[in-house]
């Protein structure tokens, strides 16, 4: 996803690293996977949690009830794991709400300081999905408190530029990517 960045000793700065965006098929596939996880496994396990709660309430034996409660907690933890997995595969609000809410949600969870410079027009469904995944995947690699500026321009050829400054590091790093969209 992320190409290596190189240090330009003559100019005293990092050269921009290349970001590779997922193609359309990959973006659709990831969307489908997240939907399957959400509608299938996660919803099914939440239903199991309900059943366990009802069973725990029905049994007369307090020790058995406590064991059922423990299993229920385990199921809830598993749902939590699925939630993290689903978010990593495809940000849950990217499809419905767009780039900014999806990236802000991710930055909030990872403790990043995110600034966005986005076009004032709709870049289209395909570009939104692929750009969204490109930047989301990148944000997943950053450590907490990193400052990130994401700039997006273009429509058919979408250009993405990310500027990042990790806490404790004096130099900024730059990444860029271009997506050709239908």
């Amino acid at each position: 996803m992320v190409g290596g960045v190189r240090w330009d000793s003559r100019r005293g700065r990092w050269l921009p690293g290349l970001l590779r965006a997922p193609d359309r098929w990959i973006a659709e596939c990831r969307y489908g996977l997240e939907q399957s996880l959400h509608d299938g496994a996660a919803t099914g396990m939440s239903a199991v949690a309900i059943e366990l709660d009802l069973i725990a309430a029905a049994v007369g034996d307090p020790r058995l009830g406590a064991r059922i409660d423990a299993v229920r907690d385990t199921v809830c933890q598993a749902v939590d794991e699925l939630r993290h997995l689903g978010s990593a595969i495809y940000p849950p609000v990217l499809g419905g709400a767009g780039l900014e809410p999806a990236w802000r949600a991710l930055a909030e969870r990872r403790g990043l300081r995110l600034r966005l410079d986005l076009p004032g027009y709709d870049i289209g469904e395909e570009a939104r999905a692929r750009t969204g995944l490109l930047v989301a995947d990148y944000l997943h690699t950053l450590s907490s408190a990193t400052m990130v500026l994401v700039r997006v321009r273009g429509r058919r050829f979408v250009r993405v530029r990310i500027t990042e400054a990790e806490p404790g590091r004096s130099r900024r790093r730059y990444f860029w990517g271009v997506l050709r969209c239908a």
């Binding site: 959400h38 239903a47 949690a49 809830c76 689903g86 609000v93 999806a102 995110l114």
Partner: protein, 221 residues
């Protein structure tokens, strides 16, 4: 209490019906999409409607339907459920209304006690927010020096977090093992530090406090 459910996952929907029955509530409708729920609210009296956020009409049919129900029947409580605790969803919920409404994770309300408590609070006019989300919203802006939340003490953050969950003063006092008087003092201090106007009603200011750190979260960085 008369409750209607709209959830596209059949297993979870049936589970909710069992939970509600166990809690002594009457399920007057149980459907798989927002439009069908809207049709039920047109003919039936419903105390609280339970809606999955991600259901037809896609992508966020629950939020769209909730907005329509609130416009049509303002007295009907709304409980929105999701597998994700997202700030974006919370903002949408708060745009719909700040009273008689809730947003919770599915697996966290998957118990008779929790679901009954959540519905009671919504029917009583409160706003109920998933504790995990409320906690995250308080912690993130608090870690930033430029946030108004940064001026709050650790104890005030605890109080604010519980306020964001929709807890009343007595419930906060019980949770933190202090008196209601102490909680009132903390809340007055929070309002002052966040610069919330003094001419609002207490309930309104509580909601404004929640919105203050929502804004802090979204504008920081």
């Amino acid at each position: 209490m008369r409750v209607a459910i709209a959830e596209d996952g059949a297993l979870f929907r049936e589970g909710l019906v069992l939970l509600l029955a166990a809690a002594g509530h009457e399920v007057v409708g149980c459907v798989g999409d927002g439009d069908a729920l809207l049709a039920i609210t047109a003919t039936e009296h419903i105390d609280v409607a339970v809606l999955d956020i991600r259901m037809p009409p896609e992508p966020d049919g629950g939020l769209v339907t909730a907005q329509r129900i609130r416009a049509r029947s303002p007295r009907t409580g709304l409980l929105l459920l999701s597998h994700y605790a997202e700030t974006h969803y919370l903002m949408r919920v708060l745009e719909i209304d700040t009273e008689r409404i809730g947003y919770r994770l599915k697996e966290r309300v998957a118990g008779v006690q929790v679901l009954a408590d959540t519905l009671d609070r919504i029917a009583a006019g409160e706003i109920v927010i998933e504790p995990e989300l409320a906690k995250r919203l308080v912690e993130v802006p608090a870690s930033r020096a430029d946030s108004p939340i940064a001026a709050l003490t650790e104890r005030e953050l605890d109080v604010l977090s519980l306020m964001a969950e929709g807890r009343a003063n007595n419930a906060i006092a019980k949770e933190l093992f202090v008196s209601a008087k102490v909680v009132e003092k903390h809340i007055a201090s929070i309002f002052a530090k966040l610069g919330l106007p003094g001419d609002q009603t207490m309930h309104h200011r509580r909601v404004l406090a929640v919105l203050a750190y929502l804004r802090a979260t979204r504008t920081a960085g």
